[in-house]
Structure formats: structure tokens, C-alpha cells
Symmetry: C2
Subunit: 296 residues, 2 copies
């Protein structure tokens, strides 16, 4: 968690940004002002960053991009950096490039433009789905989903059954081994899945909207903004933000395992109040602070 | 001191920015990323800010401008904000405005363009002089100089001599009172100057250059970047920055009362080393940290 404040600057929290490590690969969600300093402060291995996913172009989610892009240049980065976000993010990158034509690396901008959940990025082990949020301007949420892992063959079974390479390949594909003599070596006995695929959703900024829980169905860990305490429900609606109870209700309806909240209004920075309100509906809620690490 | 780091992000110092209060009026020099958060953190009364003076458009001196301008808007600022800086700063403001046409206040940009020291701004009590630095791109230093104060008439003398309003006016203009009967009431006895005019120079970023000490002659307090320890004199020259000893030599030659240094290279953040090197030439050197306040 690199930034858990909302738009007004406060002394104790940075503006929106999160780093996500997936099987040793590093992604950034949003880039609030100061994100590069936060990455240094919390020892996020900045140079490994592959892609940035920007939710929307409000300043508190994007003004840190300039410094980050600049520092990569000074640091001699050679590998391209991929930036995903709404089309109106492109002028930010063009503006930056107009002052930085010396960059040793390429910035590859991928405009996101979808009305329905859509896979916009994929690696060997993860997919990223973008979907529209409800925030007055074009805004996207992102869901990172681990792919189903391959079956791993149990080492002890290789010796016990004298498995051939062909038979190991059969198990890895998820099939039982059936030998010519009719012997069956069941997949479930000789192989295992190293993990159950996990998922993480980043949902900031948004008012709650019909179908939101459906999009987030069964996500393992959901980060959902909860800008306002419940008493300010009117303000949340007027500004296209969520309250604590609204975020908790989404988590409950979506059946997620855990809810993380942040983007607290500067009018009240005591995260325990936000957490307590959410827990009345969804006990597995955790209010995030800058520097917090969560294992999924 | 709102930011004493140089361009590479570090956990313990913000990038370049300083606030200066002069007779209750507030000015900002440079706006490194995160400056708005620093102003909140160190209780600088942000809303009172009248003018920003930008040295040059390298990111570590200007990327904090966006968040600051945005926050003023959200806070409902009505009074204009004046921004001074080289002409190539204008696209920053235009870019910002292209995303923020709702601002309730006016941003008045004053391009600085001078080859010689020139007064670019003036209030009742202070002048601001801009002069070119040597940094590879167009860069300016700024000197704030208090104007000579009016003479204040001593209260006890008003009664003692039965001073008339006309006579008080004479003293305030800096003249002795000569009465019709030949009595002289000497200025030096009946009036005093409330302070000796002070001055502050902000010099970042620059290599030292011929005539620099002349421009800074008799400044009360000089802030001069000292990016490199003396052993990195070659790097300083190559990157148009100053070393400790170079900054100290300028302070000595200019005859300033005090030298403040900052903009330390990220390769060595122990400010005591920079300070110690400077003091071998100029003992009244003080290495600045974020949050430091200096009275001039």
C-alpha cells in the first residue's frame, strides 16, 4: 500500500498507489504524487516494474507518474514500461515526453476502453481484467487473476512407479496414466496443484453501482475505496465515491475472502472508524495504511 | 525547507522546495513533487501563498506544481496565484489547465527572461530579483530583498517635544525637525529604523560561474545548492552542479552572513559531510534538512 489518502494532501498518508507482486513480477496500480518516494521508502524494487494500471486521470491518482517516468530515465532503464489507462491519459504521457526526448526506454501506452469486463493484459501466470467504474469521469477497476497452475508430479511417485517422461507429460496435462497392461496411475495420487488460483481487485474511485458485486464475484482479496464514513452517504453520492457500508456490502455480495479499504476522506483520518463500520457488515475488513503489506 | 534532496528519490528528503515568509506574506521557491504534502506536514499556511518562483523545468523542481494548483482549486481558492519562471514553464500550466477548466482562481504566469539581475516582482516591503544560473537549461536564481523601512518616531519623544503631525511627518521622511525658533530635533534622537533590511538568495541548480559572487554581494542569507562532495568535482562540472567548496567559496567572496546548503546527491545523504567541507572555507554554513526553519 503506497498511498491510502484521498485527494486533499495530508501529512500521514500518500495519495493513491499500490504495488502488486505476482510470481516475482511487479505491477503498479495508480500513481499518486510521491509514489516514487513511497517505493523507495517501502523498498519496492522499482526497477522491476513492468506495467502501471491507472484508474482515471484525477490528479491524486496520476501526478506521481511524471517523477516515476523521469527517475526510470535517469536510472538508465532500458526495458519498455507499459501504461494502461483511459484514453485521456495519453496527453499526460505525451506532455512528459515533450520534455524528456532523451529517455533510454520506451513508454508503451495501452488505452483501456471497455464497457464490460475485458482481459487487457496477460502473462504466463496472470490475467488482468479491466471494467468500468462509476466516478463521473472515465474510470476503470482492475482484477488480477492467477491462471490455473499446471499439475506438479510428486517426486516420490516418479521413483515408485518408474514414471517415463511421456507419463509425466500426461500427468502434467491433468490426465491419469493408463499403461498398456491396464494399470492406472491416478492423477490425484501422482500429482498435485501447487496452489489454488488467487485474485486481487483494485476498485478506486467509484460510487457503488448495479452489477458491481457480479463483476467482483469470488475475488480473493478486494480493495475497495471507502472514502466516507456512513454518515456522509450524501457526500459520497454527490462525488461518486463509496461509504464504508456500501463497500462492505459489495464485498459481502461478491463473496470475497477479504476486503481492504482506503482513500479515506481528509475530514477523518482515523482508519479504525472506517474499519469498524465495514465490519458491522463484513468482518473480514482491513483498513489499509501506507506501507502495509498484504499477502493474498 | 520543504525539500532538500536532488533528483533521485530518497526516503528521507523531498525534492526541491522552500517557503519564505516576508512580513506575513508567503512565497514558494520551486515545487518538487510532494511539496503540497510537505506544506501540510510542516504547517506552512498554504492558503496564504501569493507567488511561486520556479528556477527551471527539471522535474524535481516542478512536478509538485500540479498537485498544489489542484488542491488550491479543491479548497476553493479565489485569489490569483502568481507563477514566475522561465518561458518553458508555460506549457506545464497550460497542460494543467487543459484538465482543470473548473478552477475558481486564476493562475497568472509571468515568464522570466533576463540575462542580467532584474527586479521581477515587488511588494510594499520586498523586491525579488531574478538572475540567470548556469545549469544547461534556462534556470534562474531569485534574491528577496527587504526594502529600506520607514523611520519610526519614538513614542516618548512625541510627548517630550510635543511633536505636531507635520513634525512627525518630517521625521518619518528621514529629516531633522527644525522649528521656527531655531530648535533642532535630530532625526537620530527622535526616530529609529525598526530593522536593517535583510535579504535571501535562492540559488538552485547551478554550476558556479564568473560574476556569481558579485550578483550575490552582501546577501544576508544565501541558499546555494551543494549537490556534490568535493571529491566529485568532475561530476558537478559535467552536470552543471556545484560542489561544497565551490558553494562555500561563492559565499565567502559574496560576503554573505550565512550559507545554507542542500540538494544533496543521493549517493551520499549524510549532510554533516557536506557541512563540514563547506565550513573549511565558510564556517557559517548550515546544511538544511526538510522541515528546518531558518530566521533571517
Amino acid at each position: 500500500m503506497l498511498g491510502t489518502a484521498s485527494a486533499m494532501p495530508v501529512a500521514t498518508r500518500n495519495q493513491s498507489a499500490q504495488a502488486l507482486q505476482v510470481h516475482g513480477r511487479l505491477f503498479l496500480m495508480d500513481a499518486g504524487e510521491g509514489v516514487q518516494t513511497q517505493m523507495v521508502r517501502y523498498r519496492v524494487p522499482m526497477a522491476k516494474l513492468e506495467a502501471v494500471f491507472i484508474s482515471h486521470v484525477h490528479g491524486d491518482h496520476v501526478y506521481g507518474l511524471f517523477g516515476l517516468l523521469s527517475t526510470f530515465g535517469m536510472g538508465g532503464r532500458m526495458v519498455p514500461l507499459h501504461v494502461y489507462g483511459p484514453a485521456n491519459l495519453r496527453p499526460f504521457i505525451n506532455f512528459f515526453l515533450s520534455y524528456n526526448d532523451w529517455l533510454p526506454y520506451e513508454i508503451v501506452f495501452h488505452p483501456v476502453n471497455t464497457r464490460f469486463p475485458e482481459v487487457i493484459f496477460e502473462t504466463k501466470s496472470v490475467t488482468v481484467t479491466a471494467f468500468p467504474l462509476l466516478h463521473g469521469i472515465e474510470t476503470y477497476g482492475y482484477i488480477f487473476r492467477e491462471k490455473e497452475p499446471q499439475w506438479n508430479v510428486r517426486k516420490e511417485c516418479i521413483a515408485e512407479y518408474g514414471l517415463t517422461l511421456t507419463e509425466i507429460g500426461t500427468l502434467k496435462r491433468g490426465e491419469d496414466v493408463v499403461r498398456e497392461d491396464g494399470t492406472v496411475i491416478p492423477l490425484a495420487e501422482a500429482a498435485y496443484k501447487p496452489f489454488v488460483p488467487r485474485s486481487y481487485a483494485y476498485v478506486s474511485d467509484t460510487a457503488v453501482f448495479p452489477g458491481e458485486a457480479e463483476v467482483l464475484k469470488d475475488v480473493t482479496v478486494l480493495y475497495h475505496e471507502a472514502t466516507f464514513l456512513q454518515e456522509h452517504e450524501d457526500k459520497a453520492a454527490a462525488r461518486f465515491h463509496s461509504t464504508t457500508l456500501q463497500a462492505a456490502r459489495v464485498a459481502l455480495d461478491a463473496g470475497v475472502s477479504r476486503l481492504l479499504i482506503g482513500h479515506y476522506s481528509s475530514r477523518n483520518l482515523d482508519q479504525r472508524l472506517y474499519e469498524a463500520e465495514c465490519r458491522t457488515i463484513f468482518p473480514e475488513t482491513y483498513a489499509a495504511s501506507d506501507g502495509d503489506e498484504f499477502e493474498i
